[in-house]
């Protein structure tokens, strides 16, 4: 089946949105039963669940746009690393709780304005998925912002851990708000917003929250990117091995 350029573009976009949600959900799921306190264990599992639900909506749309008969599950469990389009930020290792929380905060601060803007996408299906997901993202950002401020402006130890996590992860955040050729074409078609607008909203929220948290972002850090083009970090293969093992070892296995 041949697809139009516009369909290919939208396929690419649905993969980016879906893969961000899927890979972050997979990382968060690994905390289940291991979080420092019960409330956070439940919170991370619930955030993961929301993201997994959103993944299904995006990847089901991607599969339809592709028109090759693949399903959302096929895309999640049977694609190889180079075909994933998530930003590098979401695949970064869980590290300790500070790393996981900072990764979540940097992602949520992008996810909410992105989904808010996508509610008026020229693609009605994209708009519909964004309308469904946006309230969940607002709740996630509310939680991660609150915790970043409490732990940043907390004890000496919690502050040091949050600052180290920020130093390590800051360089990865820029990929979400730095447009490539696909992002520019999507913005021109009205499917997705101009990422410069999202970058401004992301910065406004992140800078204020980090200032309230007494944390300082690294200066002049180069943006670490590649995930949107399918170039992932070393740990990504291990993540996929765990996530895809069952379907690879037992093709078609179902509950």
């Amino acid at each position: 089946m041949t697809t139009s350029p516009s369909q290919n573009l939208r396929f690419e976009f649905a993969l980016r949105m879906g893969d961000n949600a899927l890979i972050l959900a997979q990382r968060l799921g690994a905390w289940c039963g291991h979080a420092p306190i019960l409330e956070e264990d439940i919170a991370m599992a619930n955030v993961a669940l929301d993201l997994l639900g959103q993944t299904k909506l995006w990847l089901a749309y991607a599969a339809e746009l592709e028109g090759e008969g693949r399903t959302a599950d096929d895309l999640a469990f049977l694609r190889d690393g180079r075909a994933f389009r998530n930003a590098l930020l979401v695949e970064q290792a869980n590290g300790d709780y500070a790393d996981t929380l900072m990764r979540q905060f940097l992602f949520d601060a992008w996810h909410l304005p992105m989904l808010e803007a996508l509610q008026s996408s020229s693609d009605p299906r994209v708009a519909e998925i964004a309308q469904k997901s946006v309230k969940e993202a607002a709740y996630h950002l509310d939680r991660s912002t609150d915790l970043v401020i409490r732990l940043g402006d907390g004890s000496e130890e919690s502050r040091a851990k949050m600052q180290r996590a920020l130093d390590d992860l800051w360089a990865f955040a820029g990929e979400l708000t730095t447009p490539d050729a696909t992002d520019k074409a999507l913005a021109e078609a009205g499917v997705a917003p101009d990422l410069a607008d999202i970058a401004r909203r992301w910065s406004a929220h992140a800078e204020q929250a980090l200032a309230d948290a007494t944390l300082t972002p690294p200066k002049d850090a180069a943006v670490r990117k590649g995930g949107k083009a399918g170039l992932h970090s070393e740990g990504f293969g291990f993540l996929l091995a765990e996530m895809q093992h069952l379907q690879r070892a037992h093709p078609g296995a179902a509950w």
């Binding site: 409330e39 439940i42 919170a43 599992a45 619930n46 955030v47 669940l49 929301d50 993201l51 997994l52 639900g53 959103q54 299904k56 909506l57 909410l112 808010e116 708009a127 519909e128 998925i129 309308q131 469904k132 997901s133 946006v134 309230k135 969940e136 993202a137 607002a138 709740y139 509310d142 939680r143």
Partner: protein, 166 residues
């Protein structure tokens, strides 16, 4: 299996679905929750439009199965469940009867403010479903299911689930 002489009306079917409980909060029905969006006959097939509460709610698949089974027991053999994403579900669609059932079950019903992004914190105090006290506080933003948060009452000291305004 009962053979149906006439097609039951959508209103009648809605009344039947009032007996289908939510799998995770069985005190309320799927109609009380406001997730049954539309019911219509298309030829010999009954189409039921259902909207998910949260996008990842694991009960969604079970709810579809429960609807099909409940309608088969009433003699409706050809049922198709369609997912409606838009407009997105909001707790404002929970019926008054549903809110009362939640409270009686020990879950504080949602306190509706403006149910939109960024306004998820209750705008009015959440009443303890056990003693009615308004001296309550949030313990955790999440709870036993995606739709609930964990709260406690400062008067009767009972912990309770709060069905988040969403």
């Amino acid at each position: 299996m009962i053979a149906l002489a006439v097609k039951p009306s959508p209103d009648e079917i809605r009344r039947w679905l009032e007996d289908v409980p939510d799998p995770e909060v069985p005190a309320v029905s799927i109609v009380d929750l406001g997730i049954v969006r539309d019911i219509e006959w298309r030829g010999d097939t009954l189409v039921v439009g259902v909207t998910p509460t949260y996008s990842g709610c694991p009960a969604t698949a079970v709810i579809s199965i429960d609807i099909v089974e409940a309608l088969r027991r009433r003699g409706v053999e050809r049922v198709r469940i369609e997912t409606r994403l838009s407009p997105p579900w909001t707790t404002a669609w929970i019926s008054d009867a549903g809110r009362e059932k939640l409270r009686a079950y020990g879950i504080a019903p949602p306190v509706e403010g403006a149910p939109c992004a960024g306004a998820l914190k209750p705008t009015a105090p959440v009443a303890c479903p056990q003693c009615g006290s308004l001296r309550t506080e949030e313990v955790s933003r999440f709870g036993s299911t995606p739709c609930k948060a964990t709260w406690r009452c400062a008067d009767c000291l009972e912990p309770f689930d709060y069905f988040k305004s969403f």
